[in-house]
Amino acid sequence: MSEPEAVRAEVDALFALVRERYGGRLDAEQLAGVRTAIVGIVQAARALRAVRLTNADEPGQPFAPYRADS
């Protein structure tokens, strides 16, 4: 999978975060697998960011206030 420079920089930053949190419990092969998964996450995120939305485009899942007796 080719990795453009901008993607690689973002992947590297996020991978550093994940490695900081969990690296102590992962071997080299597992860390490589985590990095590959992060590449997919970043590519998906960049595809989402590329779509322009308006201020009125709300999340599809509305929040509802809770009241026990209603």
């Binding site: 697998g33 997919g40 998906a44 709300e58």
Partner: protein
């Protein structure tokens, strides 16, 4: 009554036999319990055979029917439930995962309770991919019960993630089963095993007592021999449930007869067979010929949006949160598939703003899908792009980005119903499938279309030779 009379007999016909008292619920339960004991291990299909509960329910059904208190078409019908549905009475609920293999709940999931109220007989908790596949598995061997084995080939996979639900119905171990779908987990085993599988509209069926993988994507639905049977089961499990606030107050009554003589209007997304195996594409083209006899077929398009990325981002983020304790504690090291022991750590890399962008795009996706579907009765497509994966191979998955699945991404991301039915055989003699996807809450319409297709074909009458 012999096993030959009842195994591979659709629920509707079993129900007629029970109602007329030609079939005994107790004898029926014993027949399927025996098959679950004898054949279940061959397919890695079963976690727990619930013999005591089944016989108790069957005796009650027999007594009620003898007394003239017939509850309806599931009364006295054996079934199995994916082992992510909570069951009381000391029956384990394992989520397919070794860390939970001894865990017991003290209550029944709403779907289990509603099936009991309908008089159905719980015979087994069925195997599944560990944690419904939410940790990033890449291979069939991703459950403490072993890989789900396809009754059509001992070398092929049945799942996932409702692998046991697929195997058990296809092998005649139960007449129907309950599965769950977050993205593909009902339609995939139904397609792999040559069955009908119904993914209801999100919010149609209560998920109370079901393992949460993704709160905004999880659905429960039936796998059965026919689309008609799926409708019968859906009516029993559908409905608002105060314990699941995502359920809606839209009563569902299955219309198994209508709409009589309707000419259907089907749509096919442009490019929907791109990336499909050749036999899958050929069988789909043949299916379209059948559908043209039932109505019209037209090509339609959706706007260019990153559908797979939208649904995948929601799925990964919610699954990582739902299993935060297991992941952060390192408990995932106890899972079966090696990749399930570390892949989920990567999901800390999903930024909150990107998750919210996916949720906002989901709104757009839902509106666009409804705009395309509004003049149609259903979008049709291959149920899966390929036949079942081989047991030793890698599973191609849109969830991981190794395959594309626009129908699955839109259908699950927008919470739309779909039903898959068998439409032929492909590589290695394995089944292929056809899916009908409809507007929200239009289960009756897509089931009518699927029934009409099944009335013109006989794929649902083919069963694995060794089962």
């Amino acid at each position: 009554m012999t096993a030959e009379d009842v195994v591979f007999t659709p629920v509707r016909r079993l129900a007629e036999g029970i109602r007329s008292r030609r079939f005994s619920p107790i004898a029926l339960a014993e027949t399927f319990l025996d098959r679950l004991d004898r054949l279940g291990p061959r397919y890695n299909a079963v976690v727990t055979v619930t013999r005591a509960r089944a016989l108790e329910q069957a005796r009650r059904a027999e007594a009620e029917i003898a007394a003239g208190r017939y509850r309806g078409p599931l009364h006295g019908i054996p079934y199995g439930a994916k082992d992510l549905l909570a069951t009381s009475g000391g029956i384990p609920t394992t989520w397919g995962a070794a860390p939970f293999k001894d865990r017991v709940f003290d209550f029944d999931a709403t779907a289990i309770r509603k099936l009991e109220e309908a008089g159905a007989v719980l015979c087994a908790k069925l195997a599944m991919v560990e944690l419904a596949g939410g940790m990033g598995y890449r291979q069939p061997n991703a459950a403490f019960t072993g890989p789900g084995i396809n009754p059509w080939s001992p070398h092929a996979w049945s799942g996932g993630s409702s692998s046991g639900s697929g195997s058990a119905v296809a092998a005649g171990l139960v007449p129907f089963a309950i599965g769950s779908e977050t993205w593909g987990s009902i339609l995939s085993p139904a397609g792999n095993c040559g069955l009908a599988g119904l993914r209801p509209t999100y919010g149609r069926v209560s998920r109370h007592g079901a393992m949460a993988l993704c709160w905004t994507l999880d659905k429960l639905g039936p796998l059965a021999l026919t689309a008609d049977d799926c409708g019968l089961v859906l009516e029993a499990i559908a409905g608002r449930d105060p314990a699941d606030p995502t359920t809606v107050d839209r009563p569902f009554r299955y219309d198994g007869a209508g709409p009589a003589g309707r000419r259907f209007r089907f749509g096919v997304l442009r490019g929907v067979t791109d990336g499909c195996e050749e036999a899958v594409r050929e069988n789909f083209e043949r299916s379209l010929d059948v559908l043209r006899d039932l109505g019209s077929v037209e090509e339609v398009t959706l706007p260019d949006l990153p559908y797979d990325d939208i649904t995948r981002t929601i799925l990964f983020a919610e699954a990582a949160s739902a299993f935060e304790d297991l992941i952060e504690s390192g408990g995932i090291v106890g899972l079966t598939a090696p990749e399930d022991r570390y892949t989920a750590y990567a999901r800390d890399a999903i930024l909150a703003k990107d998750y919210l962008k996916a949720l906002r795009l989901r709104g757009v996706m839902g509106r666009e899908a409804d705009r395309v579907l509004a003049p149609l009765d259903a979008l049709v497509a291959p149920g899966r792009a390929t036949v079942a994966a081989m047991l030793g191979g890698e599973v191609r998955s849109a969830i991981r980005g190794t395959a594309r699945d626009v129908m699955g991404a839109v259908g699950n991301g927008a919470g739309l119903p779909a039903v898959a039915v068998p439409n032929g055989f492909g590589a290695r003699g394995l089944p292929t499938s056809l899916q009908f996807m409809g507007r929200a809450w239009e289960e009756n319409l897509i089931l009518a279309a699927a029934r009409a297709y099944q009335s013109r074909t006989d794929w649902q009458t083919r069963h694995p030779p060794d089962a």
